[in-house]
Symmetry: C2
Subunit: 470 residues, 2 copies
């Protein structure tokens, strides 16, 4: 009878050891297809183990398909039918070199990436709110609510926030919460249809068109004039979906005037499948004046889908964004996509709902805005005292977290960027955000100052001067 | 000169009030296109307000496109060019009825939905870990890390967990963390290509094929025999991507035997674009024996993509899942999709990383497993003492959170389901998970017991008996 040694089996259980021994014999064909194994009782006696041990090993081997059981007759070895497959036991894995991702270059000062200053987030408040939430009465919901549109409490809080802060009057049911705007774009494509053309601004946020392309929709890059996308060019493109940033265009900072807004609403009203996606990505950070009213709030035809994110206003590492759908699209969303589970953890949704409704968000935004205003003022003051003063034109400094710095220079943008790299500065130019080559406006720096520290500014400006002047 | 009253302006600031008055006059064409506004100083004097107030109001109106400024000449009303657009001010919004989502039916006992028993989650540990994380040295990363694949700490912790728990030896770089498996399916489609056919199990998890369809990929429903998908039918379909649940098929509970696993690995090796997606959705809840080894661990050809989720093992409301990519696909992922931001908040990723690496996850799973085992045992015992005993066959009770209950009955599945509804029980049959009508196996209940409370069980079985016996 089959015999295995149970000595030196270390930390394995008896049944695991037996399981492994039998499996190995099957793989090495010492036990052949169709061969009958000893009865559990006889085998146990022979091995000096309990019947339970043999039974467990057999059960595992049956579950994995190495043995099969015939009622009242016993256990037999399966035919593994290993024609054309890799020899067994598997050879060592092929020597694919270990994956070494390219280390991300960091800079002494980065005028490109969005960032949040250390110590700017009220973590202790967040932790306290989370603790309150988990100690609350909604514990059961906390574990199980996976509504496609987001939890009710958060949608209500966002609706209240939009009313107070943006003058938008919307039903919480119109809100769809999701794990970042990038994810929500793909939801919109599923909702509106992959068959339409999607128009984006050129210049614009290049990541956006990349996302449309990865989702296999036709993407049109529409040129802009000083008021935004040119309506005639949009019409010519044949696109049905228009994706714009009317409150504050990236990177030029253009605020779309009312007249152009009405032109686009009119354009949208002329086609059943036409929609406007209004991307309000940094409206919280307008540093002077009232926020610009949204396109959504003057849309009477249910053609505007509003999208915004907390990744900008809280911190990038929070992945919570939302859509505001026109009412007829809410119905379509739940009919066609309502089966999806939500993508933001219920714990974070609940915590954010309280963060909003208890006034912490407003406080946080005000604090951030003051912080950014101080950074901007310091940077502007430093520039005005620098050798560059008089040779640059500053514009669009009141909105978002960047301003434009137009240089009076003969050097190419690429040359200046390379010189900045040598100064360990990361810079970007408006010219980098164009897809088409026509109209590419040179010599305009996009100065995103959100990631700087105040004490860095004098030195950063000195380095910038050296990079620009060569 | 233009005059407005500043009485009774409530909580508005002076400049807001002035802004609104002028804007309204422009919209109502009391101020016409091209008309010049009073100079700031004269207007301020006339209104009895400060020049700053007028200046701010003008600036806002310029920003919104109602006025334009000519250097050294003053402010003029824009031409709103409102041809063909809605009349202004906007009429009341069209009377779309307020959205009343259909209230979700709840049941006295639900044998279908996955759920988590109240009080099963160690919230206090979670809050403590989050507090530790926010008080730690990584505060800066916490706010800004949005890596496409997930944060390093969590990928390392998952890799360790997979090694200990699943015997899988993988590089943390192979892991891609995302906000739920549904989201990760769409990532895989972007990674592997929308042009291929995707094969899924029939019967199977219907939501999966719905997701493929919403993502506009050709989806093939391949019939199964008692070992899983039938290889010949897969070959005939022409699909290139095979999505399977080899460790524990839903809903039949089939564990794919080794021979069939090798057949599929062999199938995949025959085409450059062929891949197998191994969905290991509930491997943590095998209630007897060792877990079944994964397909991923016997794949030497880099053809298997492993996917699993914490939404099952922690609780549904946590939206954290992950992929394990073969190494050559890691490179492709970062080349083509690495620009995406991650979809899970960094706070939750860090907290989960500690939850795993400090042993809390294992404790939690053990506790859940014991809880579910007790539920299952009680339910099986109750069934064996019920009038149904002898008229039902129970199978697949050792894995996942459901077992099969085969009824000896003349009544249709639909009849029994309707009778159960009247008993306020939610039931589902294996027959509901088929897409094709052939081979549809009747009279087999899928008994998901995860959402029950132990004290409900006697009454639930009594209701079940009444529903089945009519």
């Amino acid at each position: 009878m089959l015999t295995y040694s149970f000595e030196n089996i270390d930390s394995e259980s008896m049944y695991e050891h037996l399981y492994r021994c039998i499996k190995q014999d099957i793989l090495q064909e010492k036990l052949r297809a169709g061969e009958k194994l000893p009865s559990k009782r006889a085998f146990a006696k022979n091995l000096g183990v309990s019947t339970i041990t043999v039974e467990s090993a057999y059960a595992q081997l049956v579950a994995e398909g190495f043995l099969y059981a015939l009622p009242k007759r016993g256990y037999y070895v399966c035919d593994l039918e290993r024609k054309e497959t890799a020899p067994l036991p598997p050879p060592p894995k092929p020597q694919t070199p270990a994956i070494q991702p390219a280390p991300k270059r960091t800079y002494w000062a980065d005028f490109v990436g969005s960032s949040v200053a250390r110590d700017m987030f009220p973590f202790s408040v967040w932790v306290k709110l989370l603790r309150d939430v988990t100690a609350g009465e909604d514990e059961a919901t906390l574990l199980t609510d996976t509504s496609a549109g987001g939890i009710q409490q958060l949608r209500q809080a966002i609706s209240d926030h939009l009313y107070q802060f943006r003058g938008m009057s919307i039903d919480p049911e119109q809100i769809v919460v999701g794990a970042g705007t990038e994810y929500l774009y793909s939801v919109l494509i599923q909702l509106l249809g992959r068959q339409w053309g999607y128009a984006v601004e050129d210049p614009g946020y290049l990541r956006l068109s990349k996302i449309y392309e990865k989702n296999d929709v036709a993407t049109y890059h529409i040129p802009m004039d000083e008021h935004g996308i040119i309506p005639e060019k949009l019409e010519e493109s044949g696109a049905e979906i228009l994706h714009i940033t009317p409150s504050h265009h990236f990177p030029t900072g253009i605020v779309m005037p009312v007249s152009r807004r009405y032109e686009f609403l009119s354009w949208a009203s002329k086609g059943e499948n036409r929609y406007i996606i209004e991307d309000d990505y940094d409206c919280e950070f307008r540093l002077a004046g009232r926020p610009i009213p949204t396109l959504q709030s003057i849309d009477v035809m249910e053609k505007v889908i509003y999208i915004n994110t907390f990744s900008k206003s809280l911190a990038p590492a929070f992945r919570i964004s939302y859509l505001v759908l026109p009412k007829h699209l809410v119905t379509r969303f739940y009919d066609t996509l309502g089966f999806y589970s939500g993508t933001v953890s219920c714990l974070e949704q609940m915590t954010l709902a309280r963060f909003l409704s208890e006034g912490y968000f407003e406080k946080h935004i005000n604090r951030m805005r003051n912080h950014y205003r101080a950074l901007r003022d310091k940077l502007l003051a430093e520039l005005r005292q620098s050798p560059l003063a008089g040779k640059v034109r500053i514009s669009e400094e009141n909105a978002g977290l960047h301003f434009l710095l137009e240089l009076d220079t003969q050097r190419s943008d690429e040359e200046i960027r390379a010189a900045a790299e040598r100064e360990d500065l990361r810079l970007s130019f408006v010219s980098q955000y164009y897809v088409s080559d026509q109209n590419r406006r040179p010599h305009v720096l996009v100065m995103n100052y959100s990631g700087l520290e105040e004490r860095q500014i004098p030195e950063a400006v000195a380095r910038l001067c050296r990079a620009v002047e060569g």
